[in-house]
Symmetry: C2
Subunit: 421 residues, 2 copies
């Protein structure tokens, strides 16, 4: 052993695993005694050393400036016991409160004959702006856990939408967990330790790694490029647009389920890009598909990326400069009764499609909104039917989760109000 | 179009695609005229802004301090035409010389009716220490390209080794390409553009993303942890150990094929970790499996990570302190007639195993050496039979590539000497 310690002097693994819901709060504030801490110094401007506060009115990871890397997982609850589920959610909250500070969820050494509380691969790493965002899928609100009467109307499963050839095994789930960080090992570590804490209660249904953010959510961030080489999140809602966030993202008093107030609805779509086909398309057509110049990212009616697109502009032959089926035209809030969503997607690649030999790569689309039926679904119905992009993309998975508000303080946990605990 | 340019004033796409081998050199030095450049300022100490020289005696990406992210691909040549293969390798070299400087492989805009020369998703990103390392697999040296007499004895395919349940579709390949960078989008971009330049000549056989380096190759780097939470590359060869590199890594005059002098042999093994099982193992056993303390990374006979293991030490009951089957004992050069390898592996996760529901995650092991039959294979034969770790790992893929020496200057390309060009 590296250090001799009196086992009585430190929180035991039992605290994490045995103490029902009360343990969550105790663990969350009990870090001081742990033998192994990760570096926590926060150097301003260094994303790797930075932390995002875990507690607050809203969950972190929604309006938080998008971090570089994503690990996402959907879980199905296997336990039939409501208390087991509540206990797991409490343990998750306690673990998340520590991991988002760059700490292990518990000590490496409790007793030599016990497994370490934490899987350990993030020891020595900073939090790197880790956020962990949890949401509940429609399927959780069946008869298993007494939640049937608590499902918000907005959590009706999404209808079939054009543009999708959805793979069931990569879609939906009882619970969704989004871990974002500027260090991929930290994001993976969070998901893995959630899966471990879930053992006996829930199993992972699907997971997705994302390696490059595709939409900026902060004025301070340059707009990243997607795997088609285009800047595409230019007109996204930014994290300091408080009015926009209140209007389009945060659930307000209109909700029929008070436990969702200050929460948000999360939609994920795994959008496979047929990049080999795309790469053979000529430049002018690529630019017409998006309605933007590839190089600068400016709309075809402008010179600079942030120029407002002029959808009425015509060329000398009287044709619209921005094609009638261009992505930015169809997605624009001006052309959708003002509808906006907060995008937070990541590029992914999952190796090679064994059928075609092409790269299985694209965009893991993530959007947050007040009501996905009135926002994402409306936009996708239009885009899926008419968008020039459809020749080059295919939605292969879909999920909807109701993300409750932020946790208030140690002892709070995801769903505490939902479960009436 | 963002800028009006006279097409005559810039290198055309034809230069990249049409000009046979001479184009490679022309392109490599012809960057000045391109309309679109990526940021290239190199700020000391900022890995994202840093560049690794592409030309040199040895290929970069071997003794280069390990970058954070990996994109690896193996290609099979589909063309039967030797010149087509040579042409592709020339285009790859020209493209790599640009990408490693943080530049596109060619302009976005050649003509509006032509596809952009570069796929574009790395526009605006720095090189982030990108290295691109190419090697040739045993299968390339059959009768297709007149190379049968050029295969080095050391490029005999690896024999079956214990510990492996190899998946054929994830193993071997005619050509292997390792792209490493501190920015995953830059590494992916390199592999994707190689695949695109290969079109009609070679197809991707398998690919692998790695998200966290698992072995440091530089004294300046802290030893990272693998997904078992252990520091495992502690005793790796470091990039300033010139004597060790000459003795164990770089091919010397002993080779039977002069084109391999100053090159190195690359072995990849996809090592699936059964992490769910591992996570239930108790701490003392985990530490016995590795022969190290989990927390500090010190050998069980020491206090600090870099303490030399004392393989003779016995505990009070006369049992070896470092178990007879501990990983560090079996892998140690002291116990293998001095055999050493240069490790350069990365953690990976590829989602969920559809059969078991467990995470498909582990280590994408990469090692460079003078002769894999006399180094890696000898070590693995021992480890695969006796290592305590075998209960928790499974080798699921294997590949061997002969990496020729570094390219000397613009106009040189991988295999130029091999092909006698």
């Amino acid at each position: 052993m590296t250090q001799q310690k009196d086992p009585g002097q430190q929180p035991s693994r039992r605290l994490l695993l045995g103490g029902a819901l009360g343990a969550a709060g105790a663990l969350a504030v009990g870090g001081a005694g742990f033998a192994t801490g990760r570096a926590t110094a926060s150097e301003p401007g260094d994303p790797i050393a930075s932390q995002v506060p875990f507690y607050g009115k809203h969950q972190a990871g929604i309006s938080t400036a998008a971090q570089d890397r994503l690990a996402f997982a959907a879980f199905d609850v296997t336990a039939t016991d409501r208390v087991a589920l509540m206990h797991m959610l409490g343990m998750w909250a306690a673990a998340a409160s520590r991991m988002t500070q760059g700490l292990e969820i518990g000590p490496v050494e409790t007793h030599p004959q016990a497994p370490p509380a934490d899987t350990g691969e993030a020891m020595g790493l900073h939090a790197a702006n880790l956020t962990i965002t949890v949401g509940f899928g429609p399927s959780l609100f069946d008869n298993r856990f007494g939640l049937a009467g608590k499902r918000p109307a907005a959590l009706e499963p999404l209808p079939a939408l054009p543009g999708g050839v959805l793979r069931r095994e990569l879609s939906n789930g009882d619970i969704g967990v989004q871990a974002c960080s500027d260090d991929p090992q930290v994001a993976f570590h969070a998901i893995r330790n959630f899966a471990r804490l879930a053992r006996g209660t829930a199993v992972m249904r699907w997971s997705q790694l994302g390696f490059g953010k595709t939409a900026s959510t902060s004025q301070a961030q340059a707009t990243p490029r997607n795997l088609m080489g285009f800047k595409d999140g230019t007109r996204n809602i930014k994290n300091d647009d408080t009015a926009d966030l209140d209007e389009y993202v945060w659930v307000g008093n209109e909700t029929d389920q008070p436990w969702m107030r200050d929460g948000s609805y999360l939609v994920t779509r795994r959008i496979r890009m047929l990049i080999e086909n795309w790469d053979t398309d000529y430049l002018a057509d690529q630019e017409n598909v998006f309605g933007r110049f590839k190089d600068s990212g400016a709309p075809l009616t402008g010179k600079h990326e942030f120029d407002t697109p002029d959808f009425a502009a015509k060329d000398k032959d009287g044709k619209p400069v921005i094609d009638t089926r261009a992505h930015i035209r169809l997605a624009a809030h001006e052309n959708n009764n003002g509808i906006r969503i907060l995008r937070r997607g990541y590029s992914y690649t999952d190796g090679i499609d064994p059928v075609t030999g092409y790269l299985d790569a694209g965009l893991f689309f993530i959007a947050f909104q007040k009501n996905a039926h009135e926002q994402f679904a409306v936009l996708q119905r239009r885009l899926g039917k008419h968008d020039n992009l459809n020749e080059y993309i295919q939605h292969t998975s879909s999920a909807l989760f109701a993300c409750p508000p932020g946790l208030s303080a140690p002892g709070d946990w995801w769903g505490k109000e939902l479960f009436g605990a």
